[in-house]
Point group: C2
C-alpha cells in the first residue's frame, strides 16, 4: 500500500479505467490503441504490470474471474480517483521534448531531403487518420478532452508536413 512513483503511464491506466468504469488489460490495450496511443504509446505488457502495481498501491481493485480465462478486471478506488484528480489539477512542470528520430538524424548531418521524403509520407498518413477520427468525435461534448488533443495533433502534423515539404 505504498505510494509508488506515478508515471505518465500510470495516469493513462488510471484515467482509462476511470473513464470506462472497469477494464481488463486487454480492454485497456484496445482503448489505448484507439486513442491516447497516438500521443503516448504504451507497450501491451505494461498494461498488465502497471495495473497490478497500481492495485498494490491501493489505487485500483483487482477482481479475478473464476472460470475460463481467469481474466483480471480492474476498477478505480476512491484513493485512485483522488490521485487522478490531483494530477489533473496540478501544474505541469516537466517540459516536453520533440524526440523525433528523423529530426535527430538531421541534427547529426543526415541528408535532409532523404529524411524528409520518408517523414512526409508518415506524417501525411497520420494527418489523414487524425482528421477522420476527429470528424467522428468532434461533436460529442463528452469527448472534449480527446477532441482537443486530436486538434493539437492535427496542427502539429500539418506543421511537420510544411516543414519536411520544404526540404524534399
Amino acid at each position: 500500500m505504498q505510494e509508488p512513483n506515478l508515471t505518465p503511464v500510470s495516469y493513462i491506466v488510471l484515467g482509462m479505467i476511470a473513464w470506462a468504469g472497469k477494464a481488463t488489460p486487454y480492454d485497456l490495450k484496445q482503448m489505448v490503441a484507439a486513442s491516447v496511443g497516438n500521443l503516448w504509446s504504451v507497450q501491451h505488457a505494461q498494461l498488465y504490470t502497471e495495473p497490478a502495481r497500481l492495485a498494490g498501491a491501493g489505487l485500483l481493485t483487482e477482481k479475478r474471474e473464476e472460470g475460463g480465462r481467469r481474466r483480471k478486471t480492474y476498477s478505480v478506488t476512491a484513493r485512485g480517483r483522488r490521485a487522478l484528480e490531483r494530477w489533473l489539477a496540478s501544474p505541469t512542470a516537466e517540459d516536453y521534448e520533440l524526440r523525433d528520430p528523423g529530426l535527430l538524424k538531421v541534427f547529426f548531418g543526415a541528408e535532409p531531403a532523404s529524411v524528409a521524403a520518408d517523414q512526409l509520407e508518415v506524417h501525411e498518413q497520420k494527418l489523414a487518420q487524425y482528421e477522420e477520427t476527429y470528424s467522428s468525435i468532434a461533436s460529442d461534448e463528452s469527448l472534449r478532452g480527446p477532441a482537443l488533443t486530436l486538434e493539437a495533433g492535427i496542427r502539429h502534423e500539418r506543421e511537420w508536413i510544411r516543414f519536411w515539404r520544404e526540404l524534399v
Copy 2:
C-alpha cells in the same frame, strides 16, 4: 565486442564525439545540454554508462588519464563511424509521438484553460531561447543540421503557443 542495440541515446553520444573529435563524459554533458538536449534530453549518468557500453562494443576507444582526476576520454573508432553513417543513411521507420504531459492531462479531462496558462509560459520562454540560439548559428554553414533542427523546434513552439493561447 558484441553489437549491442543502439538506441537514440547511443547515436547522440556517437554523433557528439564524432563531431568533437574526442570528449569526456563531462564534455558530452555540456555539449548535449547546449544543443540536442532540448530536442532529446539525456540524463548525465547515461553520459558515463553509454560511452562505456559503446567502447565495449568497439565503437569508441577509451583513454584514461593517469594523474589527477583520471578522466576518461573517448574517440570514435572506424567501426563507430561506420555505425553512425549507416544510421544517418537508414530510413526512419519509428514514428514520433507528441508525448506532452500537459496535453495528456487535457486528454483526461483537465481544465484546458488552466493547463494552457502554464504551458503558454513555458513555450513562450522556449521560443525566445530558440530564436536567440538560431540567430547565432543560422549563418554558419557547418551547423546546417542543428540549424534545421532548431527551425523545426521554433515552428512547433509557435504552433503550441497558438494552440494554448486559444484555450486560456
